[in-house]
Amino acid sequence: MSLVDWLPGRRSRLTGDLSDELRAHLEMAARDRIARGESPMDAAAHARQEFGNPGLVQEIARDEWGEAGRLIEHLAQDIRFACRMLLRAPAFATIVIVTMALSIGATTAIFSVVDSVVLKPLPYPESDRIVRLYQLTDKGARNSVSQPNFHDWAERTHSFSAIALMSGWTGTSTVETPTGPTLARVTPVTRDFFAVLGVRPQVGRLFVPEEQRFGGQHAAVVGDAFARDRFGGERSAIGRQITWGKDSYTIVGVLPPTADYPQGNQVWVPIELLPPSTGRMSQGYTVIARLRAGTTLDAARRDVSAVSRAMKVEYGNQTAMSDAMLVGLREQMVGSVRPRLFMLLGASAFLLLIGLANALNLMTTRLMVRRSELAVRLALGAAPARIVRQVVVESSVLVGLAACAGVWLAVVAVRLVVAAPASALPRAGEITVDWQALAFTAALAALLSLTLGGLSAARIAGQGIRDALTASSRTVAASGVALRRVTVVAQLSLTVVLLSGAALLGRSFLNLLRVNPGFRTDHVAVIDATPTIADRQQRLDYYNTLIDRVRAVPGVSAVGAGTGVPIANSPPDGGYLLLDAPTDSIGFDAWLTFPASRKGHANYVVVDGDYFRALGIPLERGRRFAARDGVGRQPVAVVSERFAAQSWPGGNPIGKVVAFSMDTDPRSFTVVGVVGDVHDDGLAAPPPPTFYAYYPQRLRTYWPLSLAVRTTGDPAVVISSIRRIVHELRPDVAVRARTIDRVVASSVGDQRFTLFIIVAFAGAALVLATLGVYGIVSYLATQRTREIGVRVALGAQRSDVLGLVVGEGLRLSLVGIAIGIALSLVLTRAMAALVFGVSTTDPITLGAVTLLLLIVAVVAAYVPGRRATRLDPLDVLRSS
């Protein structure tokens, strides 16, 4: 027979042909007999008698179709039979399918996330050659790069085919478009930026030299989403004008949607159009590069390091760079989430094992119920191999259905993860359940089917089904029960690990929420409403008017503005000097000649209005800014406690003089007050030292201000009034409004997301483990019904019986928990980077987990145990 014959349609036709043919044969034989004078009824009967068994004839004839045909035939039969068997026990099938589907779904979803985020290359050609470069300080800390250092790198290194610098500012700013203002992320980039990424515009062109010089033509390249949202399409965006800062730019090109670097960036402009930054100390830029073909990462690292160390020798104190290093761009983007995601993948694997153990228990219980059926089939001549195959096929049908449901669940779950803003995963837009994930799931399902079927078959084989016909329930084959015990112990120990992991992350999260952020997290709205006003005085007037009007809104109790709002908008940071006396012109030489003991590094925030009052940052010493600190007066400053402690340990900061190099204003500051520390870099990080300047005195600052608005009622009510005020004041300004509790909550979104998933896993594991303990104790109790009956008849007390049954379950639980604790101590060590304020071997956490599981185990064992004590010994003995 040819391969074609095995197509389902062809096959059923062949089978139909054969049975038609045999029917015709019978009819003709009968007709001949009638012709010879037999009665029609006798004729039919004799013809059949002579013919033999038509079904068997058909089957033997079909056997001629070959071995492969028979296998397929039998497989189809097995699958049909398996489906009938499962339909006959819908509760069993449902429980197995649902538990397996959940664990397969969880594993598939997390695999998809890990694969898309961590494992897949970035969506650029030969993206593994794209690297990010960092300056290293003398202490080895990674820093951003200054423009002069970048130019030296570009000239002196030989490892890169392209190297580019871009602004390191990650915030959004107002972009005016013909369709109204919008907040967008705009990044000025150097000439080779697109060559480093290897992206080409889908419409239009990239920048030309005329656009890449100071004072040249202003041009911009925009992202696909920006072009669609603002201009209704890629083509219609070309040639349109947008305004950013004080300048107008013509859109010359639209990038494809895959070009998403820096993440979320929508507008790219030539950095060469802006005044060059000539300070070798003026860091804050990001540098990326593409490795030349044939250059390894290590070789490039050595090259950059050698060049940078030579630069240190050459420039000495003029640069803060002692060395340099580079990392793969993907590593840089996803490195921080990798431990979290791998931990979740491990957790889902554990859940899968627990689900498998559960299915295994249910499957063997089911087979025990069916063992007389299996025995009859054996007695009627079914080959034992065929029975084993039947069991494997039944498991495969179960696992197959579960895998289909699991993939569906994974697709839904992944969609939720991508949509959830709180998950804050890098490359979230790229996450899909793709064919690789499907192949992974298929392989997983095949493995699970074979394991489940194989182990179940091994168990019933161990039971010796042939004996089952004669055996009653009191004979228990030891091997099956032993395997069952191992399953329960494994289930419990894996559950302990999952619970410990969940408990550790839970405690970390609570610790995180207990951190005092140093500012009020309730009833504060953060408003970004940055105008495109070039004139400093006009900008100050705009902010003053805005602050006054917002202050007048009913329900507003304080309004502040600042170049940073804790956690919401990170302020810039920079170096400062400790001076002896105020000066109007701190010289450049001072930065080179000052000893390290009189230099420092801190966050720099320029504030206006009631900034500290609005955010509830407490004043510790001295005073806040006041109206008398006028525009023309000697600049004053307020510092955080940590700033005071690192600059003047043990001394009084009030009246001290500081020079900060963050704007082009050469005047020094006099400290007038000390305020409390704030956790600006997130709750888990220590509060950075912070320096506050007064906006009316530092008008040359070029960072946009954010408003912090303290309200007496619901901030959401006030936000809509503020939007209206901004619109009346400057219709061209886009408003972004957030409440600070939301901002703080989303800053721990990563942790919350991880915690949510692992708690869900641990919960599911706990339920499955409970079922496991319950299952084995009731099973053992049933197996020992007769023994219990005899014991009761001989005078055993209920408590003795209870002890007998429950004791067995508890012994297994204790073994499982003990192994689990040992495993946890080893495995949770890998979570060191994920916990906060708690040790990975925290005895209280492990103790609580142990206690919880013990209670659950006792309850799960007690219920069937209690049932065993209710047995009437007479009933039991009579029935057997």
Partner: protein
């Protein structure tokens, strides 16, 4: 399958012989399965008893070997039946089997003859 005690006059067929007999019977013209059964029985003088359980598997085997082909037709009694034809390949095979069978028959006949008296 209940098996009737065969009369001693009937011979059970050797494995492989049946294929040859079917091909030989089809040499007289196309026939359906029941017709083949009757034909074989009649031509062997009721000596050869072919069971349906052997006939139909043999037909499937020959079909697979492309020694015969089958098509649906109408019988003398207006019944839709499956009719088997000898293919060129089947004829070749028949010729080969025939000569082999003749050699076997000669050999058998030789064996059956009383041994020649040995020379003293």
């Amino acid at each position: 399958m209940a098996r009737k005690a065969s009369p001693t006059s009937r011979i059970e067929l050797l494995q492989g012989t049946l294929d040859f007999i079917i091909l030989q019977a089809l040499r007289w013209g196309p026939s359906h399965g029941y017709g083949l059964l009757l034909l074989i029985r009649a031509q062997s003088g009721n000596v050869l008893q072919v069971e349906t359980g052997s006939l139909y598997p043999a037909l499937q085997r020959l079909l697979r070997q492309r020694a015969i082909r089958a098509e649906w037709g109408v019988s003398d009694t207006e019944r839709r039946v499956r009719i088997y034809h000898l293919t060129p390949k089947g004829r070749e095979r028949l010729a080969a089997e025939r000569s082999r069978w003749e050699r076997l028959s000669e050999a058998m006949a030789g064996l059956m003859q009383p041994p020649a008296p040995e020379k003293a």
